[in-house]
């Protein structure tokens, strides 16, 4: 028996960054919003005060803030000739366990994408010719929005989140100390950049001496007390080092809990249903609109939540899986190239180097999730690719993130014993002398990359798991090798005694090998319904009252973390809904 709930103006599926930003905009505009989240209520004072948070075993190793694979995982294979296997343990999909989604346990790098990233296809053709963009493997397409269109929405998100940083380009004027390669911004970040820690000093000096342009990474780790435009106050970061996979007891890391919930949950026109999993979007009889969603509560009872507008704001893979299970839109077929749901999965192409110093005091235990120094000299299209066998690049960065002693026990110079007294000696010496350079590379989708439903494996509700078919594009592999070599040069210039480069893209991709956790695509945006699932307002081409919001909409991934772009797109979509769509419910033009 399916029970039916009262109709809402809007149902929001997943209360992470996308869902909470949209719910805030839409309830402020007077709409009734019901949010449905798979997880329980989790908040700062009730769940992660400072007495609970700094616990590496529980949060860092056992990952108790992540949604467990038992409840929801994917199957994976490199190519269509293989049988996909389920990812049984935690891997690259770091879905949130409760409300706030991954926005509660993320580290906090708060980037904007570069102008190039939104127009990869047209700009590559323009600068290098068609052959560079159409290599027979990559499936490049523009987003249908430009950086300039998104700039005001990036700005709004940064204000809500309180992002710390130093602008590099305000209205076209290059600012000393910032990133000279960034797109023009209307104004500086709301809070100043964080402190420069030891590993950053070494990186900044070496890269400056090499003629490169280091700057402090913009962070959702707040550098000073701040009150955001919603009237919510945040505290200054204490550099405790427990961010990635942890909550934040200080209200210093921007999250839906810290930045939005305090006002959202007070609004009478907002409700949240927790511990309830949306399994599908319900289509109307004529198939042109949707009527709401179906969800299963924690007792296994099935419910219908009718709504005039449905916003899928779940994690990337969940958005795609719900669409596939609902039969909204046509599933992408890599053979014919037809269909759009499941098209253009991409990831992040990571390389870099580990480095160990003699007699330094890096003091790695002082740090913050997103804190580090970066150069963008080899990111995006900031350098000439005419003679290179790839497009795109990577943010090359060093992290002052954490000194997690369990995890770092695996980070010893090559040849060090992994156990025995020799291990103890090596770890006692190098724990405080270790650093890493991480190249967060762009990722281009390929024609053969696909997300569809697995024929064999199911979740606890009996719903088919999502099946990923993917391997790195050769262009990305070449990029990762090129940037790894740059990282090794920098590490040597920093004075590291032991330097060991790494390149995740020198072998096949696997969901179980955690190079990054930035999974992208599957319901991508664009201005052509033949190649995109949603239009530039993230409105479904197949049902005009359905919006699919999040990193599932990115047609390709940049050499940056995705959250800032997720936030900007969510705010833009929410504003389009309450300013335009509700007055004229039709395809937004």
């Amino acid at each position: 028996m399916v029970s039916k709930r009262p109709k809402a103006d809007v149902v929001v599926v997943g209360l992470g960054w996308s869902g909470s930003l949209m719910a805030e905009e839409l309830t402020r505009a007077g709409l009734n919003v019901v949010a449905i989240d798979r997880g329980p209520w989790i908040d700062t004072s009730t769940h992660t005060p400072p007495a609970v948070d700094p616990d590496e075993l529980r949060w860092g190793q056992r990952k108790e803030f992540l949604s467990p694979p038992r409840d929801n995982t994917v199957t994976f294979r490199n190519h269509a000739g293989q049988t996909a296997a389920p990812l049984r343990d935690y891997g690259i999909f770091e879905l949130g366990r409760g409300v706030g989604g991954a926005g509660f346990h993320w580290a906090g790098m708060a980037w904007r994408f570069s102008p190039w990233d939104f127009e990869v296809r047209s700009r590559t053709i323009e600068r290098y010719g068609r052959r560079k963009a159409e290599d027979g493997e990559m499936q490049l397409q523009d987003w249908g929005v430009t950086y300039d269109t998104l700039e005001p929405f990036y700005d709004q998100w940064e204000r809500i989140a309180g992002i710390s940083g130093k602008a590099g380009n305000i209205k076209g004027q290059i600012q000393p100390g910032g990133n000279p390669f960034e797109g023009p911004r209307a104004r500086d970040y709301p809070t100043p950049k964080l402190k420069t820690l030891r590993i950053m000093e070494l990186f900044n000096k070496a890269t400056t001496d090499m003629g490169l342009h280091p700057f402090t990474i913009p962070c959702a780790n707040i550098s000073e007390p701040y009150t955001n435009p919603l009237g919510v106050s945040m505290g200054a970061c204490t550099y405790c080092g427990f961010c990635l996979a942890y909550g934040c007891g200080n209200f210093s890391k921007s999250s839906p809990q810290a930045c939005i919930f305090p006002v959202l949950v007070r609004r009478p026109n907002f409700k949240v249903i927790t511990r309830s999993c949306v399994t599908k979007v319900n289509k109307s009889s004529d198939g042109k609109t949707v009527t709401g969603v179906t969800f299963i509560d924690e007792n296994g009872h099935e419910w219908e939540q009718p709504a005039d507008i449905v916003c899928l704001t779940a994690f990337q893979v969940d958005n795609v899986r719900i669409l596939l299970n609902s039969g909204v839109g046509k599933t992408y077929d890599p053979k014919s190239g037809e269909g759009t749901i499941g098209r253009n999965f991409s990831f992040q192409t990571v390389s870099g180097t580990d480095m160990w110093f003699e007699d330094e005091h890096i003091n790695p235990f002082i740090g913050t999730g997103g804190l580090g120094s970066q150069i963008d000299d080899y990111n995006g299209d900031n350098f000439d690719h005419s003679k290179l066998d790839f497009i795109g690049g990577a943010g090359i960065l060093t992290l002052a993130r954490d000194g997690a002693p369990i995890a770092k026990a695996a980070a010893l110079p090559e040849g060090s014993p992994r156990w025995g007294s020799g291990f103890k000696k090596a770890y006692a010496k190098y724990y405080r002398n270790y650093g890493t350079i991480f190249n967060q590379g762009c990722s281009m989708p390929t024609r053969s990359a696909t997300l569809d439903l697995d024929p064999t494996y199911r979740d606890k509700f009996g719903v088919p798991l999502l099946r990923l078919t993917y391997d790195y594009a050769q262009s990305d592999r070449n990029m990762a090798k090129f940037t790894m070599d740059r990282a090794v040069e920098i590490a040597r210039a920093m004075g590291a005694a032991h330097v060991t480069g790494f390149n995740f893209a020198d072998k096949a991709f696997s969901t179980a090998v955690i190079a990054s956790d930035h999974v992208i695509g599957g319901a991508v945006m664009g201005d052509d319904p033949a190649t995109s699932a949603v239009n530039p307002w993230l409105q479904s081409w197949d049902a005009h009252n359905l919006f699919v919001v999040g990193a599932s909409a990115f047609p390709n991934n940049a050499g940056y973390n995705p959250t800032g772009t997720v936030g900007a797109l969510a705010i833009r979509t929410a504003q389009a809904i309450h300013q335009t769509y509700v007055r004229n419910p039709a395809r937004l033009a």
């Binding site: 007495a51 820690l197 550099y239 026990a409």
Partner: protein
Amino acid sequence: MRRREILSLGVAVGAVPAARLLAAEMDAFPHDMALDPAFVPKPAPGGAPQVLTRDIDRRTITAVFDRFIPGDELGPSASAAGCVEFLDAQLAGPFGQGATLYRAGPKAVGEDALMQKPQFIATPRERYETGLRALEAYARRTHQGSFADLKPEQQDAILTGMEKGEIELAPEVNTRAFFELMLANAREGYFADPLYGGNKDMAGWKMIGFPGARYDYRLYADRTGEDLGLEPVSLVPKA
């Protein structure tokens, strides 16, 4: 509706019979801001063994852990730091039960190679049970003695063989993966918060210079490149 009610809905709330049929819905600000008891860290129970109840298994794992992290001038051995008690408590809890793992079958041929990582339908507890027995049987077969009674060089030779994949303990055991599981758990026991039964007196943290759960470094962050000489702090309240 208050948060306490929200979180307990569906778990048979006698006072609100209708609640059974309602999804957990919140439509007001949660006034109760107290720490959720379920989120308070739970210390390892101590006392009698819960999973490693066979004396021979305890002797074997103690010997393995103490080859991984022997007692020396840098600090106590793994077992002296409580790592065996740590492991027992971990195996008795959600970790040992594989509570977060997707364990539905079938386990496909070639699954490990595709994932580039061994995957298991068995729980860590089951893997320890079969692995420790196979390790002991291997020692008896090849060295005519209990693993725990072999000379350190003999123990190291077996462990090195396991690590490199040069020996197979038993057909039902992924030997290399079992070695890695034991090594990972020994490190966890030595470097996790003492709350969990290992890292006694914060010996692991003192060894490497990790100051533990201090939570506020604003007074020190500007002193870059200095040996700050900070003593570690744990989540266990001082008596």
